[in-house]
Amino acid sequence: MAVAQLKKTRGAGTVVFAAVKSHANLSLVPAQPVSEPLDNESRTWLRELRSVGATHDAAVARLHLLLLRAARFEVARRRPTLPHLRGNELDDIALEAANDALVSVLAKLEDFRGASRFTTWVYKFALLEAAVKLRKRAWQGREVPIEPESWSLFETGGPGPAQEVFQQELLGAVQDGITRLTPHQRHVLVALALNGVPIDVLAERLESTRGALYKSLHDARRALRTYLEEQGFDASTWFEDGR
């Protein structure tokens, strides 16, 4: 996978960068960082979770409490957007998220490289599980729109008639470009970027994954940008008034 390697100093340790073919663009992304020197707390977590018997069980119980705290944090942040959910339903979602995160963390324990403190590393598993469950819950029973519904609702218009005309032409080219995408790309782009469907909800409906759908979204966006450039809309004008 690695095409080229660069070295970049980060703190006391070293990160090896590998140029990889990511999506259709060549992206420079950090390869798995070389193990960082662990802080004492992270070392203790790992030692106790890798042990057996009472020490292990106690560490797992503490880890679960930590994950539950993070999951409840996420639920509390999203609560205002979920007025139809009762408190006990939200508590259940937080507990389920913590349980699932615990399984993930224990399964991936050996992947922890010390790029952060251990607690920060585990928090992201609980936040992800809680966020995904809440997005799915919010869309439960709702139809996922995959066709454009709201072109006419777009706010166009600038300081003068020329700007208005430019924006209408750009919008027309965007609509035309979308019709030229593959059906899958079009559905993914429209659902995610136009109709605001959460990516995890669409992934569940299409029996796909977040990563796979984002790649489709990335490819669709790139094809659409290429089409606009071919139509004479330079990238520097996309977000301008067209003056």
Binding site: K8, R10, G11, V15, F17, S22, H23, N25, L26, S27, L28, V29, P30, P33, A70, F73, E74, R77, A115, S116, R117, T120, W121, Y123, K124, L127, L128, A131, R135, S150, L153, F154, E155, T156, Q167, L170, L171, V174, L189, A193, L194, P198, I199, D200, R210, G211, Y214, K215, L217, H218, R221, R222, L224, R225, L228, A235, W238, F239
Partner: protein, 77 residues
């Protein structure tokens, strides 16, 4: 009801113009990114492509904001 702004809508449709990592790479790197960000470090140099991804992916962006708020809140205590 206010109509969606064209620029914002185009931004969501056209996505980030810079190279970006994918969702899986974003998740792998998010904890280190957040700690470095909170410490005022050079996230662009250490995690190239991650910021553009956060701009282009609402789900990853929300999870980044949550992790940053959670860890940042702990550090403030």
């Amino acid at each position: 009801m206010r109509r969606p702004d064209l620029k914002q809508s185009l931004g969501r449709l056209l996505g980030p113009l810079e190279s970006e990592v994918g969702c899986d790479e974003c998740f792998d790197q998010l904890d280190g990114y957040v700690e470095l960000e909170l410490a005022g470090g050079d996230t662009e140099a250490v995690y190239p492509g991650l910021r553009p991804h956060l701009e282009g992916c609402p789900a990853c962006r929300e999870e980044h904001e949550s992790l940053r708020a959670l860890v940042g809140g702990e550090q403030a205590l």
